[in-house]
Symmetry: C2
Subunit: 446 residues, 2 copies
């Protein structure tokens, strides 16, 4: 096998391998066979990979109950079942995510609810369903949630989302902890302290912790640690200003998500255990120095669990060589999906690893741009990759690490139906989502 | 009324006005009433506006048959019916767009089919349905289409898509006429001439014209003229190399789409008649100087027809003032939609005009960022607008000129259902697309 034929193991699903016939298999199932049966584009999920990352996170963070899988990365009832079975908790960020989780019978007490703009109806559903925690995001919401809980005769546990002013190094579009953003209460301005006081003063909600989120695609504990230190400072301020029976409720430090994954062979991979250990050590020390009991650290990984488990299989179509300068040619290789099933390259400049999956190739490599089939020149999946020059129409290629924010952000641009999704485990194939067709679009018409 | 209360008429639908009670109406229907009945976010289409822009285009370009509405901007059966009734032609760019057009009984002979990666099945459907033109985009496709037509015992009229190497000034992501892109055959390299020869040599396809596309959001004829001149040069080359019976078939110069619209009050608006006149004059002169009969100029506007007809109505939710520097505050105003129903601000940096639509306001204006309800800090609809400081939760706002590439590119991120779409005309409301719910997502699950 050439270097190109070898799947970078830190990027591809854990069970992905190249069979002796040259085909790539996941959980022992050939991607070519799956393409044949379900068509392309096709999302293929390695169920064991997904579950193993749940287990890694649970082990690193002291138990699954401390790890909230971030639904927004990718959610179906089956996925919610996997998360529940692995003993993890769940983070939802919209009314419909909550509805789906409840439709999957996910234990409500293990659900944390986010959102910068929760409607009264959404808050009502939260309390009625008895979700574990609602994360308060603005002052109005405190009074509204209190009123809803009063109306339902219940008490709702809450966290206050704090903007600690820390920004982990990441792409600007997906950084979330600096002050100039829509989420949370400012620590610096005193707004977060005030929110905590309001929550404590409200009769039908119980403040049990603080939440913050430092960014996306983070690979070390530094950003988390800095944020944790600041948020613990706030916790100390709250604890010392309150009677013991209130202060003692404040036991959760939720540090949000943002754990990175490797998208390309050159990317580093996350050492979850090391980051978690570093983070726990710093939190323990910080709490100690502030005279606080060590809080329970909670986290909300989405991408780090769902991302690496999934690949997207495409069929190669049109191939075109374009002279881009006097002595330079770029090959345009078109596949049968594109920005409708993966908006991340166009939206964030995201990069992916691509491999030929129906065979190996020892052809020389050529500078290739992988594009989709949409009527838009910005419909680019991979800006520049060295791919074997003998790839031809009908070959199958796959992009790895497409499990998070690809299907979840998929559109129907150019009336492309969302692809089918199948999961594989121990040689067994389980359809998860069927492909959308024109009938689905027509069904919405009046 | 304050300046903010006045709708910029070159941005808003032609029938949009502010009623004496302060509410904005379209075709005499109050947006507040529509929000009440159909919920928010809600797309509201001014049917007469859409139709009038079809008429303007038809008048400017010598008849509706020369104007192909670009489906990708926004397509439903109802929209296809409007386009057909106004006598326009239709441009589709995917198999599903074609299927939808056929489901709407759009006359196949008035359909032009685009695509950089058409499958054999797609080509088969084109020939079988007897579409007017297939636009050839790569060499392989010529032989494949010829084979499909032979198999069906039919002859298929085609255009050859040419890259003239002209790039109209526009946002990089949506510029499409330079050489380094996926669409078309290079003029400079001789590839386009060769494609024309191949098409002419094929037994079951007839070359009837040439196609090019210079970009998006173009407001003057300059780019079109330069491209037209170059493509006419190619046409002359083909015509003089072929016998008269072949040369005489070559009568169409399709200059594609790209006609701009005003998104904000400061944007210029397109003078369709002036651009068309300028373009026709240059084409006539160029053809004359090359000794060619003046070709029929065809165009493919999508945004310029669908864009200005539609507004998106949102309900205001959480409002938050954030200190972004010592003496500067930014107001974050959250609405109940966001990047799921309008990805263009995040994807292209697109700007929009926003107005309060359930009432007027004479409150002082304050620096406001309009954000969505998604769990992502990049979920920004309007980066900076001066909005009345008294806007409160429960108010209704609307973004104008959202008829193109908003619903068409909508996602279900955070499991948001696609919004409902209604059209209004002469005081009558017609539901066009119902809102998606969690049930629609569950229906896809195996």
């Amino acid at each position: 096998m050439t270097k190109f034929d070898v799947l970078p193991s830190h990027v591809w699903p854990r069970s992905a391998t190249r069979a002796t016939n040259g085909e790539v298999t996941i959980a022992g199932v050939s991607l070519a066979d799956l393409a044949q049966e379900f068509g392309t584009p096709l999302f293929v999920i390695d169920e064991a990979d997904f579950r193993s990352r749940c287990q890694d996170m649970a082990a690193a963070f002291g138990g699954g109950e401390n790890v909230h899988y971030a639904s927004k990365a990718f959610l179906t009832r089956k996925v919610a079942n996997w998360v529940a079975e692995e003993g993890l908790s769940l983070d939802v960020a919209s009314e419909n995510e909550l509805r789906l989780a409840l439709a999957a019978d996910f234990p409500a007490e293990r659900i944390t609810v986010h959102g910068n703009n929760k409607s009264d109806g959404f808050l009502h559903l939260c309390v009625e369903a008895q979700v574990g925690h609602v994360v308060l995001d603005n002052h109005d919401e405190i009074a509204r949630l209190d009123a809803v809980a009063a109306e339902l005769g219940q008490s709702q546990d809450v966290l206050v989302r704090v903007k600690p002013g820390v920004e982990a190094h990441t792409h600007e579009m997906i950084a979330t902890a600096h002050e100039d953003q829509k989420f949370g209460f400012s620590l610096a301005s005193g707004s977060a302290f005030q929110a905590a006081e309001e929550a404590i003063a409200a009769n039908n909600i119980r403040l049990v912790g603080l939440h913050c989120h430092v960014g996306s695609q983070v690979f070390d504990a530094q950003g988390f640690n800095m944020a944790a230190e600041r948020v613990l400072g706030l916790m100390e301020q709250i604890v010392t200003s309150q009677p013991a029976e209130v202060a003692n409720l404040l036991t959760i430090l939720d540090l949000g998500g943002g754990y990175g994954i490797a998208y390309t062979a050159n990317d580093e991979s996350l050492d979850v255990a090391a980051v978690a250990a570093d983070l726990h050590e710093k939190v323990t020390k910080s709490a100690e120095s502030l005279g606080l009991a060590t809080p329970t650290v909670m986290v909300e990984p989405g991408r780090a669990i769902a991302g690496p488990a999934t690949v997207t299989v495409y069929e190669v179509g049109a191939i075109k060589d374009v002279h881009i300068s006097d002595n330079e040619t770029r090959r345009y290789l078109a596949v049968d999906g594109g920005m409708s099933d993966n908006i991340r390259p166009a939206l964030y400049g995201a990069e992916y690893d691509i491999r030929l999956v129906n065979r190996t190739s020892d052809a020389k490599l050529t500078n290739t741009r992988v594009v989709g089939a949409h009527c838009e020149s910005g419909d680019i999946l991979i800006n520049a990759a060295d791919l074997p020059a003998d790839i031809h129409s009908g070959d199958l290629v796959a992009l790895a690490a497409t499990g998070a924010y690809c299907y979840a952000m998929a559109s129907n641009y150019n009336m492309f139906g969302k692809p089918a999704v199948v999961s594989v485990r121990d040689g067994v194939v389980s359809p998860m989502l069927r492909r959308q067709t024109v009938s689905d679009f027509l069904a919405l018409e009046a």
